[in-house]
């Protein structure tokens, strides 16, 4: 997912062949594509309005009813169709998971490679700034932000992204420190390649492995963090569905014991997404890794 390196290598053609050898990566592309399609076409696919309280034959609300012919995945504690909420939740959770992880990726990678490569004052300032972010009281930050901005998808993505790039930064910087004195990097420098070119053409592709892993983990983390945010007044607000808030709405022993339709579907959806992104990441790494011969 080292964006800068992708187009050139793809054009090379050789990468694509190796990519297809990874059946899992292909399946992952299909799964993720499917999820994205579900998200995009949610209004067409969902059997019910995800906000409507499902009414039974007598007009009474069907609270927490088990899966049935009418409601394939049952209804939730408010009597809303779980399947429809799962489908609409795909939109919210994928957007948040992927955008927040990408935001963290971009910030962490750019700052990390800069700090590691330039060293000196650049490194000191960036690293201490990163320490400051890591040391920041995030709970209070969220509370304070929530009093100034309206909760929305964009604020949620921004907050999660801005609070979660530290690990990526540290990993990227560590890798850069390791790589920058390698012969081929120093050789590129001697041949007159500019700093940015060295950083993004020579260092970044070689540091891709840990960054891909970290970003994969970040997707899952962002999806789950979203639901925790709504407890503090940020995150998506009711009645909008997300996989995260479907799960946290189900946090009781009784649900666990006897109402699996409330937690299995969103849990599996998150697991599938994360697995797919992981295998895709593995595939990408193997394909574009310059050292793989």
């Amino acid at each position: 997912m080292s964006v800068a390196a992708v187009p050139k290598r793809l054009a090379g053609g050789r990468g694509l062949g190796r990519f297809t050898r990874h059946r899992l990566a292909l399946i992952s592309v299909v799964v993720l594509g499917l999820f994205i399609l579900i998200g995009v076409f949610a209004p067409l696919l969902a059997p019910y309005d995800p906000y409507d309280l499902a009414a039974g034959p007598g007009g009474e609300i069907q609270f927490t009813s088990a899966p049935s012919a009418a409601f394939w995945l049952g209804t939730d504690a408010l009597g809303r169709d779980v399947l429809s909420r799962l489908i609409f939740g795909t939109r919210v959770s994928l957007t948040i998971g992927i955008s927040a992880a990408l935001l963290a990726l971009v910030i962490g990678v750019v700052l990390g490679v800069l700090a590691g490569f330039r060293g000196g004052w650049t490194d000191i300032i960036l690293s201490r700034f990163t320490d400051a972010v890591a040391a920041f009281p995030s709970l209070f930050l969220i509370l304070t932000v929530s009093s100034f901005v309206k909760p929305s998808l964009i604020t949620t993505v921004t907050i999660i992204g801005l609070l979660s790039w530290v690990s990526t930064y540290r990993l990227m910087r560590g890798e850069t420190l390791k790589l920058r004195h390698q012969e081929y990097v120093e050789a590129a420098g001697a041949l007159g390649a500019g700093d940015w070119r060295i950083m993004f053409r020579h260092i970044l592709p070689n540091a891709a492995a840990p960054i891909i892993v970290q970003t994969t983990l970040g997707v899952a983390e962002a999806i789950l963090t979203e639901s925790a945010l709504s407890f503090l007044g940020l995150g998506v607000q009711q009645p909008i569905a997300s996989w995260g808030n479907m799960l946290s709405d189900a946090r009781t022993i009784t649900v666990l014991q006897s109402q699996p339709w409330l937690w299995l579907p969103p849990g599996l959806a998150i697991l599938l997404t994360v697995l797919a992104i992981n295998f895709l990441g593995d595939g990408l790494r193997d394909t574009f890794n310059p050292r793989e011969k």
Binding site: Y51, D52, L53, E60, I61, F63, A77, L78, G79, L143, S146, S147, K150, P151, S230, F231, L232, G233, Q237, Q238, P239, D249, R251, T252, I253, T254, V255, Q257, S258
Partner: protein
């Protein structure tokens, strides 16, 4: 999270009912659970629900409530009113000792009441004793003592108020008496940070033994308790998440715990656990900002009330453990007007009400004269029934063309909207734009006089808690009269009238009253919580 406006605990006072029946078995340890950790254990420093649950085991007040919301003897054996109803004289129980063996006398009572009025006291209880003659002068430093408090002898004390003050017994039930020989040595301004906060010495049925932060409070029986020793030797109160404590209850690690409604099925299916269902005095409501002209429209408030399916909240979200509330008094309160007209659930009537008032539907939302029925609704997180109720109300209102944007927040955040401050941090008046609608709980006390601060024009923030901005003098006057009337029948009729008026005017749209659920292991006997709380008959609990 502590939703302190739902002040069920301030009601829950005192502890031991006089022990007539002997204990079937003496000794042993019971472990009970509560869902949040108490803070400061000085009952006169900002008591919260969770603090009070512990404090009432260690301390006593002069009087305590009965199950039917009258008052009975606690530290005071008896009391008499003077002819002008302005002086009440308490006679204390004989031979009461503090946990450290010192005698408890009327001087301790005078000390406690005086300390609250001290100019240096900052614990939030001064408003309660303000009515005592001379309390304000003492508070302002103009007097050396409070003229309205007179110690007559070691067992007798008289308290005088400026005006006839009907809630005086309610006030006294809310003030736990502290030992002068301990707290008298600590300057009042240091009470908030003194070691006694975590090591209280009282006169109650249990002696404080230890406070392990994040874990438990351990208490041991006061074998010399004036109302008879508790059957138990030791009582452990653990703190933990509701789900976890429920699991601990089912497994038998704790003997009693609150049961969250969504988990009630798990308790019913375990044979060793008995479920108790208890009425409470607190109820949830939708508060309105009447400064907003759209919400000042009676038709809009009526339509909202008709459109909200409160029965579904009770049956679906509370599994039936609750009641619909039609006015500002729940059915279990003495001031409840039995002839109140129930608020119907009738979406068609709601539509018609809005139609008749000229609110025209277009694109799913109603509007009139360029104004659209679109509101923000704030609610607090942490209570699953309220969180889901908010979404249900939103869906109900959507059906009649009122668009509600929900916004969740924690309680202190909500307070900043209801009791706003200016740029310099000083409290200011509420404006139209501070909020539209909010959902909160209200713990009505035995004595409803506190509504004075909520429904009179003078009570608007920053002077009181009239967030809604209800300024109709008709309602306010009933409340003023209610506070100055001692005759119970007359009071009842005044508050009944107030209840009927609130049902018609709906400054708050009353929703539901939840019942409290507790489970106890069958090895713990006589566990019988009631409307006053979980610990009412703690001295009679015994274990096999």
């Amino acid at each position: 999270m502590r939703h302190l406006l739902t002040l069920s605990a301030a009601l829950v006072l005192a502890s031991a009912s006089a022990q007539t029946a002997a204990c079937p078995k003496i000794g042993g340890t019971a472990t009970i659970a509560q869902n949040s950790e108490p803070g400061n254990l000085n009952p006169l420093i900002f008591p919260t629900t969770y603090d009070t649950n512990i404090e009432e085991l260690v301390f006593n007040a002069l009087v305590k409530p009965t199950a039917d919301l009258d008052y009975q003897a606690d530290l005071a054996q008896s009391w008499t009113f003077s002819a002008d109803k302005k002086t009440i004289t308490f006679k204390l129980q004989p031979g009461v000792k503090w946990h450290d063996g010192q005698a408890l006398t009327a001087k301790d009572v005078a000390f406690t009441l005086t300390a609250i009025a001290s100019p240096k006291y900052n614990g939030g209880a001064f408003s309660q004793v303000e009515v005592i003659t001379g309390a304000n002068a003492y508070h302002d430093g103009k007097a050396k003592s409070i003229s309205g408090i007179k110690v007559i002898d070691d067992r007798t004390i008289a308290v005088t108020t400026d005006k006839v003050y009907a809630p005086i017994l309610a006030t006294m039930a809310g003030i736990m008496i502290l030992p002068q020989h301990i707290y008298g040595k600590i300057p009042v301004e240091n009470w908030q940070k003194d070691a006694t906060n975590r090591n209280p010495v009282g006169s109650g049925p249990f002696k404080f033994k230890q406070f392990r932060s994040g874990e438990l409070i351990e208490l041991e029986a006061n074998k010399n308790y004036f109302a008879g020793r508790p059957c138990l030797d030791r009582l452990i109160v653990r703190f933990g998440d509701a789900n976890t404590m429920l699991a601990a209850l089912v497994k038998g690690e704790v003997d009693a715990a609150p049961v969250p409604v969504p988990s009630v099925a798990s308790v019913k299916s375990s044979p060793n656990v008995k479920l108790s269902v208890v009425d409470q005095l607190n109820f949830d409501y939708v508060g309105t900002n009447l400064r907003n002209p759209l919400l000042a429209d009676q038709a809009v408030r009526n339509a909202m009330a008709y459109a909200i399916n409160r029965k579904a909240i009770v049956s679906g979200l509370m599994s039936g453990y609750g009641n619909v509330v039609d006015t500002l008094f729940p059915k279990s309160h003495w001031a409840y007007p039995t002839n109140v007209k129930p608020i119907p659930y009738d979406p068609a009537l709601a539509q018609k009400t809005l139609d008749d008032a000229g609110w025209k539907m277009s694109g799913g939302v109603r509007s009139k004269g360029g104004k659209t029925l679109k509101f923000r609704m704030f609610y607090t997180t942490g209570n699953p029934v309220r969180e889901r109720g908010a979404a249900l109300i939103q869906a109900n209102l959507r059906q009649i063309g009122i668009q509600v944007d929900l916004q969740s927040m924690d309680f202190p955040t909500l307070v900043t909207f209801l009791l706003p401050k200016d740029g310099k941090g000083q409290p200011r008046a509420v404006t139209t734009s501070d909020f539209d609608l909010f959902i909160l709980g209200f713990g009505i006390e035995r004595d409803p006089s506190e509504y004075l601060s909520y429904f009179t024009a003078d009570g608007q923030p920053p002077n009181g808690y009239n967030f809604s901005g209800y300024t109709n003098p008709a309602g306010g006057n009933l409340l003023v009269k209610g506070q100055e009337t001692v005759n119970q029948a007359t009071r009842k009729s005044l508050y009944n009238q107030f209840g009927l008026m609130m049902r018609d005017q709906l400054p708050w749209i009353p929703l539901t009253q939840a019942q409290a659920l507790y489970g106890n292991q069958t090895r713990l006997h006589n566990f019988a919580p009631d409307i006053r709380g979980v610990n009412v008959n703690v001295t009679r609990w015994w274990v096999q």
